[in-house]
Amino acid sequence: MDSIGFGAAWLQYALGGITVGAIYALVAIGYNIIYNVTEIINFAQGEFVMLGGLFAVFFHETCGFPMLPAFLAAVAAVALTGLILERYVIRKARHATVLSMIIITIAFSILLKGGAMLVWGRDPYRLPAFSGSGSILWNGVAIQPQALWVLAVSGTIVACLTIFFQRSVYGKAMLACADNPAAARLVGIPVRTMIFLSFMLSAAIGAAAGVAITPITLMEYDRGALLGLKGFGAAVLGGLGQFFGALVAGLLLGLAESFCAGYVSSGYKDAVALVLLLLALFFKPEGLFGSKEAAGLKRF
């Protein structure tokens, strides 16, 4: 490692930061999709990521699927979990108070965590990289091809979502539900379907993030809470409900964390995102890109 100079180390940390940052951004986008349609913060969002990774391990290693079908099957399985959450839990509790709703999604999250522990045990699982296991050396920086895959998956998801929300009828309908559910119902948008769709979509995005990151970080049953919390940090920092903000904030959090691990203390790297989350909540709850006035209208 002598050959890695200061500049190269810096680049190395930045690359690592962007990779995990992309994952946080995807988790944050998952929060935003559900929040935008229902004004619910889904505390089980992080568990979707965990489940995505573990399901991919299951389909690839246990069932012997090739990588791409395993990826898709994992995403589908977690989307189904999101569907169950909406259909059998959220819908049943739709008149609950905010406090109850928080407790309900927390309960669902530990249910998923407990289920994962029962099925997969407490050990971390590995998943082979999507392509090639060696690192590419570039300007003294070792690049794992999987990091590029993470960025590619994130980029694709963000691009697809942008098109979905701006162009497709369904996407526009979903945004309308967020704006004003009563009015959306009046103009004939099936609000129930949209809520349902938002949970599935958000679960699927979380799962994709989970599958993509597992070859780099491994995956185990209790990783969901921290991933969820950091992703929420990105969502708040970027302004709750804003996709572009979530993307930028996710990358920022990833970079902050990576540089802290590199230059300050690796033990406290997990605390960095959380401290930033608290600072954002305490001093700028509308986010870096949100307006105070718009935030005032939201129901937290």
Binding site: V89, A96, S109, I110, M117, L229, A271, L278, F283
Partner: protein, 324 residues
């Protein structure tokens, strides 16, 4: 308190006082006294949380952190600096109160989801600190050989002695909290929960009250942590992680958020579930907690104790109308 209410409370108190003597003769349940010591310690946490969640309507997912701060301050002051445990206990409470105040002032301006996430984030940060400050806390492997408690020079060794000590604390906390609830402060807290803007218009300093009750809940959690430390005499950070904060919320919710008795019974029930009945299925534990929590919030959102009270009241009303 009306005499009609005093009778069941008297019966309950007598049962609690006799409990160690009731279970002692039976081999298979004699260790229930030990379980009840833990239940009592957790009750201190959940009584405070019940005031905060059930009455003031503010969620906290950081109670395990305050529990941990109390435990570690006690352990460090007694183990490292040779303090008397009875002096370390209030010191831990003061530290906890200060931390709760510093976190609470900005956090309690937030509502609902944001408050939940803020307390959750704070709890995880404390847990990371407990793991990382190896020099002080022993890191993940924890601390051992923490001194026990003694009263008037006599060390508290038996579980029965601990049982009475801990439940005396619980009784005091319960009485104090009961008095708070049945006073101008308690009415103000409930008013904040029900209609914040009207409470404020009636002159209730909403922000200040939220912080006060948050600090109170943190102080109770800290005392519980100190007692826990001296009872088990070793600590690891895993007793103070996020899952424990969720467990405390669960204990309050299962019994009934809007009732101190609910918090008490929910805590005792879930302590037995966790320490006793689920030991055989250690891997099921998290799953079972999730399931209980979900079932209760979906089907009996008011909690089991309040639900039973309502049923009793309904039946009594039905009996009355029939007899008329």
């Amino acid at each position: 308190m009306s005499p009609r209410k005093l009778v069941p409370i008297g019966v309950f108190a007598a049962f609690m006082a006799a409990f160690p003597w009731i279970v002692a003769p039976f081999e298979s349940v004699s260790h229930y006294t030990d379980v009840m010591v833990f239940a009592g310690i957790f009750c201190l946490v959940t009584i405070g949380l019940s005031l905060l969640m059930g009455f003031a309507g503010q969620i906290s997912l950081a109670q395990a952190a305050f529990f941990g701060i109390g435990a570690y301050v006690s352990a460090i002051l007694t183990g490292r600096f040779g303090w008397n445990p009875w002096a370390a206990m209030p010191a831990g409470a003061v530290v906890c109160a200060a931390v709760a105040w510093i976190v609470g002032v900005p956090a309690l301006r937030l509502k609902g989801h944001y408050l939940a996430m803020a307390t959750l984030g704070f709890g995880v940060i404390v847990h990371i600190i407990l793991n990382e400050e190896v020099e002080w806390t022993g890191g993940p492997s924890g601390m051992v050989d923490i001194p026990g408690l003694s009263i008037a020079g006599t060390p508290l060794l038996s579980e029965t002695a601990w049982y009475y000590l801990v439940w005396t604390f619980v009784a005091a906390a319960l009485l104090f909290s009961y008095h708070v609830l049945h006073s101008r402060v308690g009415r103000a807290l409930r008013a904040i929960h029900e209609e914040e803007k009207a409470a404020e218009a009636m002159g209730v300093p909403v922000a200040s009250y939220k912080v006060q009750v948050f600090v109170y809940s943190a102080v109770l959690a800290s005392l519980a942590g100190s007692l826990y430390t001296h009872y088990v005499t070793f600590l690891t950070p895993s007793s103070f992680d996020l899952m424990w904060s969720i467990r405390f919320v669960l204990m309050v919710v299962v019994g009934g958020m809007q009732s101190l008795w609910g918090a008490l019974l929910g805590t005792v029930f879930l302590t037995f579930v966790g320490n006793e009945w689920l030991q055989v299925f250690a891997d099921f534990e998290v799953l079972v907690y999730g399931a209980i929590l979900l079932l209760v919030v979906l089907w009996v959102p008011q909690g089991l104790v309040v639900w039973m009270q309502e049923r009793l009241r309904l039946r009594r009303a039905a009996d009355l109308s029939r007899s008329e």
